[in-house]
């Protein structure tokens, strides 16, 4: 069965993030509770989401003696430039633009103190101080060279697959507000998705952050589930991989209605469904 390879240190899988850093990301995020001037910018939502997701990935691999390299991670920002946002140190260089997750875990840009409310086990709650790692800050400038980003991403995953032909295939997460300014991204998406390990083709998931205040759409199976007047949503939907079996069951466990055509795509996602989406996309059910 495809998409069932065991994920281990000997046979890691890869996560590659493509982050839209174009000027339009300065606009307000429509899916937030706060509206108007109080709403966070899309670039703020993107940074928070990616920091939380990376934290989540690190925690899945963390043991008391250190972080086990079940995952290799890459981040490509696209806006003013198309560039890798995490760099391997020499002794960690995998030669693919992706770095072992332990390297990322040890080098956040800074740690922020947050207060978290947790259950105290006796029916009440208590406040706990937790340290939150921050790797990325909001950034928004210039156009949206999504095609170039998909192309660079394709190079990264191709090189990575050459070194890990038996692994669970790389998962690419593209977080954007939608409009590519450098061509037709569907073609580049198809090229990216055509690379495969013995376990299956590369998975490309798209997370659409929009200023529109329409309700979120998570895991649509058909284009008619998308808001009718948004051409970018349609393109991003077409670019997205269908969910493989293991991820469909994870989505179902989270209460989503899924079928064989369900795609790894969220439109106009509020931060909560966005994180849920990403957590499902990164749940290593076969992690050993």
């Amino acid at each position: 069965m495809p998409y069932s390879a065991e994920i281990s240190r000997q046979q890691p899988t890869a996560f590659l993030f493509l982050l839209d850093q174009s000027a339009s990301m300065q606009e307000a995020f429509g899916g937030a509770e706060e509206k108007g001037d109080a709403a966070p910018s899309k670039s703020r939502v993107l940074a928070d989401t990616v920091n939380r997701l990376l934290q989540n990935l690190v925690l899945r691999c963390a043991k008391e003696e250190g972080v086990r390299d079940y995952f290799h991670v890459g981040v490509i920002g696209y806006g003013e430039r198309v560039q890798p946002l995490v760099q391997p140190a020499e002794d960690f260089d995998t030669g693919t633009g992706l770095i072992p997750i332990s390297h990322l875990a040890e080098r956040p840009k800074r740690m922020e103190q947050r207060v978290k409310t947790v259950e105290d086990g006796a029916g009440g709650t208590q406040e706990q101080r937790v340290k939150m790692p921050v790797w990325f800050d909001p950034h928004a400038k210039n156009g949206t060279p999504m095609c170039q980003a998909l192309d660079l991403g394709a190079q990264y995953v191709r090189d990575w697959i050459d070194r890990h032909p038996g692994s669970f295939p790389p998962v690419v997460l593209n977080v954007t507000d939608g409009e590519a300014t450098d061509g037709e991204p569907l073609r580049y998406a198809q090229q990216l998705r055509s690379f495969a390990t013995d376990d299956g083709e590369v998975l490309l998931f798209n997370v659409h952050l929009s200023e529109s205040e329409e309700p979120a759409v998570a895991f649509p199976a058909h284009p008619d589930e998308l808001p009718r007047n948004d051409e970018y949503a349609e393109v991003l939907f077409q670019m997205s991989s269908t969910l493989p079996f293991t991820m469909r069951s994870a989505a179902e466990q989270e209460g989503y209605t899924v079928d064989l055509d369900t795609r790894g795509f969220v439109f106009n996602a509020d931060p909560v469904s966005l994180v849920k989406f990403l957590e499902i996309g990164t749940r290593p059910s076969n992690l050993r």
């Binding site: 925690l59 963390a62 972080v67």
Partner: protein, 236 residues
């Protein structure tokens, strides 16, 4: 009750997951067999948490030393055991990196299976999760408990947490009779599913080397899931 020391032979055989070092094995086993009742326990620490191996070690050591032989006694003993884990210097260390500290706050998790044998020929057992007791008599499997279906094992067994939880996990209890010459096996989940799917009757005779060989061969054939694999043999 007999005052003679128990003539019971107990051996612990364990192999870590393939690709893991022996010190990364998060299964644990302990026994107390110098006097009646004889007490044996195994625990399987959950990979996703930190300090699960430590929690599994503490659970089996305390279970064979304290009286946690029934679900009620186990529930009563648990707060002190949790306290010991939470106050362990390794867990409390201020030097933990952010990721280990964050996970330590969520606690460690492990299954636990304990077996008490009495001189009068009775046994009782308590279980949280999917460790399995197999009772063999005259070359056949008399009983497997609390699970006897190799297909029923899942990724989400009941687990004992090392921090307080709003609702306690499902604790099960069973009892039965044993006779001299019987073999009892305690197995962690992967070994249990494999032996139930194949044949447990040869297992009482394995030694460390043959167990390791059997595990390796079963993993290669896809009969045994790649997991920490523990077998405790109790020969009466």
């Amino acid at each position: 009750m007999s005052t003679r020391p128990p003539a019971i032979d107990i051996r612990v055989l364990t192999v870590p997951k393939e690709g893991h070092r022996a010190e990364e094995n998060e299964d644990a086993a302990a026994y107390a067999a110098d006097t009646w009742p004889v007490r044996v326990a195994i625990a399987d620490g959950a990979t996703e948490a930190v300090f699960s191996g430590l929690w599994a070690e503490m659970l089996v050591a305390r279970w064979v030393a304290d009286d946690g032989a029934t679900p009620a006694a186990l529930a009563e003993a648990l707060p002190a055991w949790r306290n010991a884990w939470q106050n362990h210097p390794a867990v409390r260390s201020q030097d933990l990196p952010w990721y280990a500290a964050a996970k330590a706050a969520d606690g460690a998790h492990a299954t636990l299976l304990g077996l008490t044998l009495r001189a009068n020929g009775t046994w009782k057992s308590v279980a949280v999760g999917d460790g399995v007791l197999m009772h063999l008599r005259e070359g056949r499997l008399e009983r497997a408990w609390p699970m006897d279906d190799p297909e029923a094992f899942s990724d989400r067994p009941a687990l004992l947490a090392s921090v307080a939880r709003p609702s306690p996990p499902r604790m099960e209890a069973a009892s039965g009779d044993w006779a001299p010459g019987d073999s009892l096996l305690l197995t962690t989940d992967a070994v249990a599913a494999w032996l139930l799917r194949t044949d447990p009757t040869a297992a009482p005779a394995w030694d460390a080397a043959s167990f390791a060989e059997q595990v390796e061969s079963a993993r290669t054939q896809g009969l045994l899931r790649n997991d920490d694999s523990t077998l405790v043999q109790i020969s009466t």
